[in-house]
Amino acid sequence: MDRLVLLLPTTTYRTHDFLEAGRTLGVDVVCASERPNTLEAQLPDHFLTLNFADPDGAAATVAAFSRSHPIRAVVGVDDLTVVTAAAIAERLGLTSSGVAAVTTARDKYQMRECLAAAGLPVPRYRRLALKEDPFLAARGVGFPCVLKPLTLSASRGVIRANNVDQFIAVFRRIAALLQRDDVTVSGDGAEYLLAEAFIPGVEVALEGLLIGGRLHTLALFDKPDPLDGPFFEETIYVTPSRLPDDVQRRIGDVAVAACAALGLAEGPVHAELRVNAAGPWVLEVAPRSIGGLCSRTLRFGTGVTLEELILRHALGRPIESLDRERQAAGVMMIPIPRAGRLRRVDGEAEARAVRGIADVAITAHPDQALVPLPEGWQYLGFIFARGETPAVVEAALRDAHARLRFDIT
């Protein structure tokens, strides 16, 4: 039986779907987290504790483990684990993009440097040291601009500034965010932030799978809610895209070029781009799959999940089809409207009853302390819809969301 190491942070939404994919494929899954599982002592062959902030150390631990437990594949399920997964794969000769490429893609500044050097369209950018005086740091930065941490994800800490006063406030706000106990950053990610030009336009997300250096586009999502700031909370994703075919082709071409420039060659890719009259602009190319529970919008071939595709690729198993189902599909990440504690949720049954709604998953728990963006990184839950057209799907998501009532005090 093939053995697969899954790198599963204790805070990831992705555990269930990746474990189900492992079960479907009949592989022996070894779960590696940053903290010991309660049953690790009883099942040392099936649990590992790894320091995801130390990829080389984690790779050494897994290499030692692999001497008695041969490993066929390693997969990091989200941003926190992709560099460690690449380090393990490189050490053991497993399928993955290289550590250098993944490390570059994980740091927004390094990624911009690489893409700009390759001549790809990226916003004008500057890296700023957090120890700088923000008033002085603002010199030479045009407005409007967007400030963002180098390594956080899910739009956490991404804030627009329209003038120097806002820039200074945002600069200090991000510096304070990086000091929070629930923020894990190290190296440059703890010492710098990125300031870049705000690019007006619509935003899309491209979900892809790299196989032998070739990028296969699995889905292109429209984000129909405007993302103009001051925060950039993602809400609705709908696929297929309603953009004209030629624009979609240009987005695909830019994503292919971006992966090549970064040196990404194997595994999932989640790229975010802005599109305006000048064409597509690359905001991010992350060497991982789509976050949260959003992958549940995607089914391939005869109903294969995205997680199964990713594991099949990592294991070197045949992939029947990379074609997404014909129906339109979408997800709404339910935003946290304000800080407080979640007391109760009403309207779930009404939301589920909306035509086209496939599921409503409330992931926040009762009494959970809720932190909205830009400091937070969680959602109240996810709404999933399927329908004949993207417009029908979007309408169903909005209708279902309107029926949910969250008591937050």
């Binding site: 599963l8 805070t11 990831t12 779960c31 728990h365």
Partner: protein, 93 residues
């Protein structure tokens, strides 16, 4: 047969599983055994925990199947959305 299996599963839960998950403020309760399928409920820190799937599928189910090969599946009946004190809480990363 089912009662006998139920007794063995309960012993495993009492001696191997609950002492371990208690370290995270959790517990596991045996609801029933039907047709060699074990139905469990997770409580305390396990209810709604971001690592509950790992603990159940890669831990509890594996332990039970190793000790009792006649068990075909372990199913979680927990309403994780109602867990008010999960040990780990998920976030989008």
């Amino acid at each position: 047969m089912s009662d006998d299996l139920k007794t063995k599963v309960q012993e495993l839960i009492d001696t191997m599983i609950n002492p371990a998950v208690a370290g995270h403020g959790g517990y596991v309760e045996l609801i029933d055994v039907q047709d060699s399928r074990v139905y469990l409920q997770m409580g305390g820190g396990c209810q709604g925990c971001g690592a509950a799937d790992v603990t159940l599928k890669s831990g509890i189910e594996r332990l039970i199947k190793e000790e009792l090969p006649e068990v075909v599946e372990v199913l979680d009946t927990t309403d994780h959305a109602s867990g008010s004190n999960p040990y780990y809480t998920a976030g989008k990363g």
